[in-house]
Subunit: 255 residues, 2 copies
DNA sequence: TGAAAAGTTTGACAATAATCAACAAGGAGG
DNA sequence: CCTCCTTGTTGATTATTGTCAAACTTTTCA
């Protein structure tokens, strides 16, 4: 009933200067005038409904997108039709950088819920970045951040047990919740257990079992999409690889 | 005995214009004059010996590197000291982009053999990219390519069996061999079975068993580091996810 | 409102790959 | 040239996680 209202609210054209996400997003480090120039090239299309595609694998690449509210999952598919989720993208995070290398998106990007986005035409962004070193550098930082995130998941898939993977996943969501100014202890997730399992390389049933396990030992409460973490430090220690590659304190790797 | 000679040969300062890798690397798309300007900022340090570190996790980030000859592995480590290899980098490929986001390298980069590299100070590269749109775009393409490569591995770790992973790994090496102008059927690998297992999230023993299995069925010959692929099409089909996200031909994902 | 669909949970069983252990084969260095 | 040490191979056993099946809950939509 209120969905019309929600659409119109989330569709309000908020300029970067007034956006609460500006410190996570492309404008970081720009002054008022530079931010205004960035604003000029950004489009703000109507929000995506749940399950709607932002783009599909094979579409020609023209823009990158920033999630303003809601969330988006990106996934690749194999020849045999299996899909592998490559990321969940929350407000302030960029989607579409996979398209830069060959001018074609390599992933599918699909909204997990009502999601509003900013569209940034990439050729215009590059033009602008040429005259705004700060913008150029922030773009590079954000691309590199994607690489780091992928490496973290690589570590999870390659070396961690089911329990550690889910712990690491939840800690990651907790951190991102905190980064956007919300509680690290309590948040809503927009993805299904199936999505989580797919992302972490585990069966749905395993995810479900781990959730019940975590609840049995009093680590957290998980009611559907609502997560309340009771013992965050313990969850962090379970996640183990929480501080990947932050130091070279490992004596074994000395040359 | 000839190692001194080898060092001096691989240490010859080849300008980008004369480098056989220019069509894979940063200079792609630049004209002669632009390439010369790029040349000016590139340093060519002495080659790395086997096992020598190019940089370590935690080092302050200043440069990215391009492998000129040889190969480099990058890996992260967990708190508990386990390492996860995040990539093997062959001639023409970039190393160090993980450092851009926080001005600190997040991985360790270690030579797998005698390896010569080009060093590109990143702040100077960004300066130059501001005035050379072609260079800027190529940098973006290469960063995006890294993302794609990571997504491919994500798919392997998340969805593929041991057999499929090793097949995909070998097909990938074959493709990269061909891209550099060498045979896709015959090449030398510089990493150990242990490294391959680490990278693919499998035990060494599993890798070894899969190699013997592939040889038993006449797919390839693997004598130590020398690989000869006999039936590349079959290996490709085993790899399955060889064409990740190249099409949206999967009817299940229609909205 | 009610029925169907989608998502979640739990249990029983099976299988893929890990671990443990031992040995073989190359390569480096005295 | 021979020995040591690293790397690779093979076998036996274990266990973590996947698969199949079924019940239950929530959401969707007519």
């Amino acid at each position: 009933m209120a969905s019309d209202k929600i659409i119109s609210i989330s569709n309000i054209k908020v300029a970067c200067g007034d956006c609460s996400l500006k410190s996570l997003c492309l404008p970081l480090g720009l002054n008022r005038e530079e931010m205004h120039r960035l604003d000029q090239i950004i489009k703000r299309p109507r929000p995506l409904q749940r399950e709607q595609f932002l783009y599909r694998a094979g579409d020609t690449f023209r823009s990158i997108y920033v999630v303003r509210s809601g969330s988006i999952k990106t996934y690749t598919t194999t020849k045999s039709g299996e899909q592998q989720i490559t990321g969940f993208h929350l407000p302030g995070e960029i989607v579409g950088l996979d398209g830069v290398s060959v001018d074609i998106y390599s992933c599918n990007a699909q909204a997990l819920e009502m999601t509003s986005i900013c569209q940034v035409p990439f050729n215009r962004l590059e033009e602008l970045a040429s005259s705004l070193p700060g913008l150029q550098h922030q773009l590079h930082r954000l691309m590199s951040k994607e690489l780091l995130a992928d490496h973290e998941v690589l570590l999870q898939l390659g070396k961690m047990s089911a329990e550690e993977r889910l712990a690491a996943f939840l800690v990651n969501l907790s951190n991102r919740s905190a980064q956007r100014g919300y509680s690290p202890h309590e948040f809503n997730i927009s993805m299904t257990r199936t999505d989580i399992g797919n992302y972490l390389g585990l069966a749905v049933e395993t995810i479900s079992r781990q959730f019940t396990h975590f609840q049995e030992v009093g680590l957290l409460e998980a009611a559907r999409k609502h997560i309340r973490i009771i013992d965050l430090p313990k969850l962090r220690s379970l996640a183990g690889g929480e501080a990947p590659c932050e130091s070279n304190s490992n004596p074994k790797v000395q040359a």
